[in-house]
């Protein structure tokens, strides 16, 4: 396959982020004539916003895993569980497939997503030319997997709804759950702030670094 030559930006065109209509680039800020969204050739301040959100998510990730996400009161005795202690409970009770699902969705996926985004941001800042197609694929992966980390929040919601039997058994959400929800939302915003076109801009300006 021969490499095609030009990007929209090189031709002085802007592709709308929402409806993908092409418009001629102007000096002053403008809105898309078709859908009315603000026009930008690249997402504004993409690197700075994505870094800020990734770092915030790393910070939230610690209390999310250390603090209890549920308090179970059963006949007067209170038991507090973190995400990992929930996973360990499932391993001990023999439901290791469920243990694996929770571990992947709650511990592994958020961390993987943050590491991928941090790596991609670094690769853009250092102007790496290495395998842009695979780096774009990594970005798509972060977009797809992030939402599944909400699993634990939903499990808590359902447990809290069902196990509400007065003195017999009650489940309440713990402070870890708030931080955990924060991790999910902030990483989703980070993926949205990231502009994959920046990966490719480096490939084009590789010979000409004056730009």
């Amino acid at each position: 396959m021969t490499a095609p030559t030009q990007t929209a930006r090189q031709r002085g065109l802007v592709s709308c982020h929402r409806c993908h209509r092409l418009t001629r680039r102007r000096e002053t800020p403008a809105d898309c004539p078709r859908c009315g969204a603000a026009l930008h050739s690249r997402k504004p301040n993409s690197l700075a916003r994505a870094w800020a959100l990734v770092l915030a998510a790393f910070v939230f990730y610690i209390p999310a895993n250390v603090l209890p996400v549920t308090h179970t009161t059963s006949l007067g005795a209170v038991q507090s569980d973190t995400i990992m202690s929930g996973v360990i409970y499932f391993i001990h009770s023999g439901s290791w497939p469920i243990a694996l699902v929770i571990f992947i969705a709650s511990v592994f996926v958020p961390l993987l997503k943050l590491l991928i985004l941090a790596y991609l941001l670094m690769s853009i800042q250092r102007r790496w030319q290495w395998r842009p197609v695979d780096r774009t694929r990594l970005y798509r992966l972060t977009e797809v997997i992030g939402r599944w980390s909400m699993l634990d929040i939903y499990v808590i919601t359902i447990l809290v709804a069902l196990v509400h039997l007065g003195a017999l058994a009650t489940i309440e959400a713990g402070p870890g759950a708030v931080f955990f929800a924060g991790v999910v939302v902030v990483t989703m915003l980070a993926a949205e702030a990231f502009d994959p076109r920046l990966i490719w801009d480096n490939m084009e300006t590789g010979n000409d670094r004056t730009n």
Binding site: R21, C35, G36, L151, V160, A169
Partner: protein
Amino acid sequence: MKTAHLMACHECDLLHRLEEVPPGAAAHCVRCGALLHRPKTDSINRTLALAMTGLVLYLVANTHPFLGFQIGAQTRETILVTGIQQLYQQDMKIIATLVLLTVVIVPAVHLGCMLYMLLPLQARRVPRHLARVLRLVVFLKPWGMMEVFLLGILVSIVKLVKMATIIPGIALYAFLGLIFVLAAMSVTLDEHLVWEQIEERQ
């Protein structure tokens, strides 16, 4: 019409001169592989049918018994929003709001927007603010997470099955159906087609 066929990849910005894509085929970016355009057959009719089905399922899913929980003589019936109410009462307002948005409000807005857009379009009229409504749908898409909630139900059932009997309600089945309808809707809706309709009217 010449510029209408010129299109930039939304992931790497490469320009493509897009020929008419035949039905059932898809155009991908030659450089990064992103999906550029996949025309849909009978898009507006099919999506509208799904949106109407979705509305019925949504109403059932939100009003009827969702899950029941039975230990000995004690039974507890819940509806979809019971957990959200409980979280709110436990002063977990952030989580309650997040769950309400992602499981209840976003799907409702999504279905509402679809009906608002497609009912007039099917009658060959263009509704007011069509562009703004479609933009909202595109914006909200990642924030509807019903399928993740379904996995949450499965995990919860496994967690509780040893201590109690779980009774699935009619709303659970409606919820399950709704997930499929929403997924099918995002496959049948041809956003490109709607944007073109908007452009023609301008």
